[in-house]
């Protein structure tokens, strides 16, 4: 219909300007990919600096004030610029329309705008580096964030702008899923990656505006002194925590749900088997999205919340374990009697299941109010959420990279190199963060640049693990770049996967499909 031989989305138009003004969801996905990789490198560099400072008790390379800024930038960059946009904005943008058999997302111009929101927001955030940085941690807790250096204000405003990026992406996805499915693509024929993005998008639309108003109030607090969060003026600092976590706890599921979607795709492709419990996995995504709005209080067990509220939030938090476990068991059941191939995306998927389970189970431990009083603000919490965010989301992100790279650029990657990156990242990750569970249980508090001498051995182990992860990501970067520039042609469907995106050309054309696909069956029919 529209396709010209040899034309694809990459060579459809050329020049930087054609990229900066593109409305093609695939090109926008690639632009997100490049930006998120850069942000990840910066956030990762801060992580390395943090771990280097923590190599020994006392001052190693920087003093406490600078350390606080490292910690804040590491958190804020990784949360707002890497993990939240990561999977939805890179792979969601690229593959959601392809998997649905659509030509683009519903609002291509809005999609481009969302990328600019991220970039402008990031630029505003980095202004704070000029103003002595920000040192509140990524959570901006009041009253400290009201009184500290002006860098905080810039970081807050940056996060506010980046919130629009997230909202616009979510809005586009919800509308696309509802309105742009190919003929025959019923809801229950959608790939599970789409289901997870849909659940994520609902959270993005509902929760992110609350972060917006919270950060706006915080900015007004700093500029005008409105006092809503300031006890001196009759305000309530705990209200900030409520507002903040009303967004930021659902945001945790913005980070993990797309990763779960990726895992569903990987497990079924590399087991060559119909996914076990399709509907259960699909609905558990929506279940997690629904419950996510009623658990924010578990961040405030020791913030003077009433014990009744604490008990209710504790119970609701444990409830999250149910849909999460449903997914995990279904993935494992899919492996059973499948023809499992241990290609690197599958290794990352299996790594996800292993690490995410540890992260999830320790989450249940933290949901127990009595234990949380002990573990609150210790390294146990740090280890827990890194197991979920890095062991979960980043593992899935890496798996997604290797799985979909052949479709994005039409090139195969060097498999041995990709497996090597997995070995380094997986082992390094456990060496880094498992000791932190122990340190937390021993009572080592979070966020300090120094610690008591008895924690030194485990901290050194942890730091060496962090360097190992760093090497792993550098290997992965080399493999990805090598694949893009020097890789062998991948062919249309190197993995023999069944979802629609693999029916598009080796490198998809601008319109995605030369002929409008008509869907006649489910997404994973491997028999």
């Amino acid at each position: 219909m529209y396709s010209t031989p040899g034309k694809n989305y990459l060579n459809e138009a050329s020049g930087l300007w054609s990229w900066l003004t593109t409305k093609d969801h695939k090109r926008i996905g690639v632009m997100y990919m490049i930006s998120v990789m850069i942000f990840f490198a910066i956030g990762g560099a801060f992580a390395m600096l943090i771990r280097t400072e923590l190599f020994s008790s006392g001052k190693d390379i920087v003093d406490a004030a600078v350390y606080n800024q490292f910690m804040t930038f590491h958190g804020a960059i990784m949360v707002f610029m890497v993990i939240i946009p990561g999977i939805p904005a890179i792979f969601g943008n690229f593959f959601l329309p392809l998997q649905l058999g659509a030509k683009d997302v519903a609002f291509p111009r809005v999609n481009l705008m969302s990328w600019y929101c991220l970039i402008i927001g990031a630029a505003i955030s980095f202004v704070s580096l000029i103003y002595n940085g920000a040192d509140t941690g990524w959570t901006f807790y009041t009253p400290y964030s009201i009184g500290t250096d002006n860098g905080t204000l810039w970081l807050v405003l940056g996060a506010f702008v980046m919130g629009f990026s997230s909202i616009l992406t979510g809005l586009n996805f919800v509308v696309t899923v509802h309105k742009l499915r190919a003929p025959g693509m019923t809801f229950f024929r959608m790939p599970l990656f789409v289901w997870s993005l849909y659940a994520t998008a609902i959270i993005q639309i509902i929760a992110t505006p609350v972060l917006g108003i919270t950060l706006l109030l915080l900015a007004a607090e700093r500029i005008l002194g409105i006092g809503v969060f300031d006890p001196k003026l009759g305000g309530d600092p705990v209200l900030f925590q409520h507002f903040f976590w009303f967004y930021s706890h659902p945001a945790v599921y913005i980070m993990i749900l797309p990763a779960m979607g990726v895992i569903s795709e990987l497990i079924t492709t590399y087991s060559r088997k119909v996914i076990f419990g399709y509907k259960a996995i699909a609905f558990s995504s929506l279940g997690i999205a629904a419950v996510s709005f009623f658990v924010w209080g578990h961040h405030m067990f020791v913030s003077g919340q009433s014990s009744l509220a604490g008990i209710i939030f504790s119970f609701l938090t444990m409830l999250v374990g149910v849909p999460t476990a449903i997914k995990t068991f279904n993935w494992v059941a899919t492996l059973y009697k499948g023809s499992v191939k241990f290609d690197s995306p599958m290794l990352y998927a299996l790594g996800f299941i292993f690490l995410f389970t540890i992260g999830g189970v320790t989450g249940i431990i933290l949901a127990v109010t009595a234990l949380d009083v002990h573990f609150h603000d210790t390294y146990f919490v740090v280890a827990h959420f890194h197991y979920v965010m890095v062991g979960g989301t980043l593992m899935a992100l890496m798996g997604a990279f290797f799985y979909w790279l052949p479709k994005m650029f039409g090139k195969l990657y060097y498999e041995a190199g990709a497996r090597l990156s997995f070995v380094f990242i997986f082992l390094g990750f456990n060496v880094t963060f498992f000791p932190q569970f122990v340190l937390g249980a021993m009572g080592m508090p979070r966020r300090y640049y120094s610690y008591l001498p008895e924690y030194q051995l485990l901290n050194r182990v942890s730091t060496l693990g962090a360097y190992t992860i760093g090497i792993g990501f550098l290997i992965a970067l080399a493999v990805i770049l090598h694949s893009i520039f020097k890789g062998k042609p991948a062919g249309k469907n190197p993995w023999g996967a069944k979802t629609l995106e693999w029916e598009a050309d080796e490198i998809p054309i601008h319109e995605n499909f030369a002929v409008q696909p008509v869907v006649t069956g489910g997404p994973y029919e491997y028999r």
Binding site: L171, K179, I205, I213, A220, I226, L233, G235, L239
Partner: protein, 217 residues
């Protein structure tokens, strides 16, 4: 919406839609999702309002007594009027009456300007008397402690609402220009409908702000 398909086929639509009606429905769904985000954004302020109103009912009553309900009531009427003319403009778009679309949008715009004018008068009074948010509060005869907190909510809520009115004015101007060019008719009036929905939400939020801020206590 009644559209006959031959005419629809002639009407341009973006490449990823099947037809113009598909594009219209999709756009409206997007607008509704966007309105949901607006509601949740204002929702945060409303929650804050209720929490502090519950904690300090006297302070909120005293704060409200400094507002003149007649200004608020006038503005409510002005906005209701503007919503009515907004609806009329869509009605005339469906009737292919280009001239009346422009007139209705023009009246809507005048109402918005009147609203902002009245808000300007009110703000000037407050600033003059020192009835300002938080730390800036300098009114000498306050009885309740931290009366500035009431005005924090007053200014944040009406300020955020006012900024939405300004954005709405920009959008109405944009569709007014397009209407004058004769771009809207029964087959294509998506921007009028979309801006209309946004404008109704802005009005609706005011309908809640008026009693909560002016009439309470």
């Amino acid at each position: 919406m009644s559209t006959d398909n031959t005419a629809v086929g002639e009407r341009h639509h973006a490449h990823h839609f099947n037809n113009a009606e598909h594009e219209f429905n999709t756009s409206m769904f997007g607008v509704w999702c966007f309105l949901l985000t607006e509601i949740l954004m204002f929702g945060g302020l409303f929650v804050g309002y209720f929490i502090f109103h519950n904690l300090y009912p006297d302070m909120f009553a005293e704060g409200a007594s400094h507002l003149d309900w007649r200004y608020g009531a006038t503005n409510t009427l002005v906005l209701l009027m503007s919503s009515f003319t907004m609806v009329l403009s869509i009605y005339y778009a469906r009737k292919n009456n280009t001239k009346m679309i422009s007139w209705c949008l023009f009246i809507t715009l005048l109402c918005a300007i009147a609203f902002m004018g009245i808000k300007y008068i009110e703000y000037s009074h407050k600033i003059h008397e020192g009835l300002l948010p938080g730390e800036l509060f300098s009114y000498a005869h306050a009885e309740a402690a931290n009366l500035g907190l009431y005005f924090s909510f007053y200014f944040m809520m009406t300020g955020l609402h006012g900024s939405h009115v300004l954005v709405g004015m920009g959008l109405i101007t944009w569709i007014l220009i397009r209407a004058r060019r004769g771009e809207f008719n029964e087959h294509y009036y998506t921007p009028v409908e979309g801006v209309g929905l946004f404008w109704h939400l802005v009005d609706l939020i005011w309908i809640y702000l008026f009693p909560l801020l002016y009439l309470v206590g």
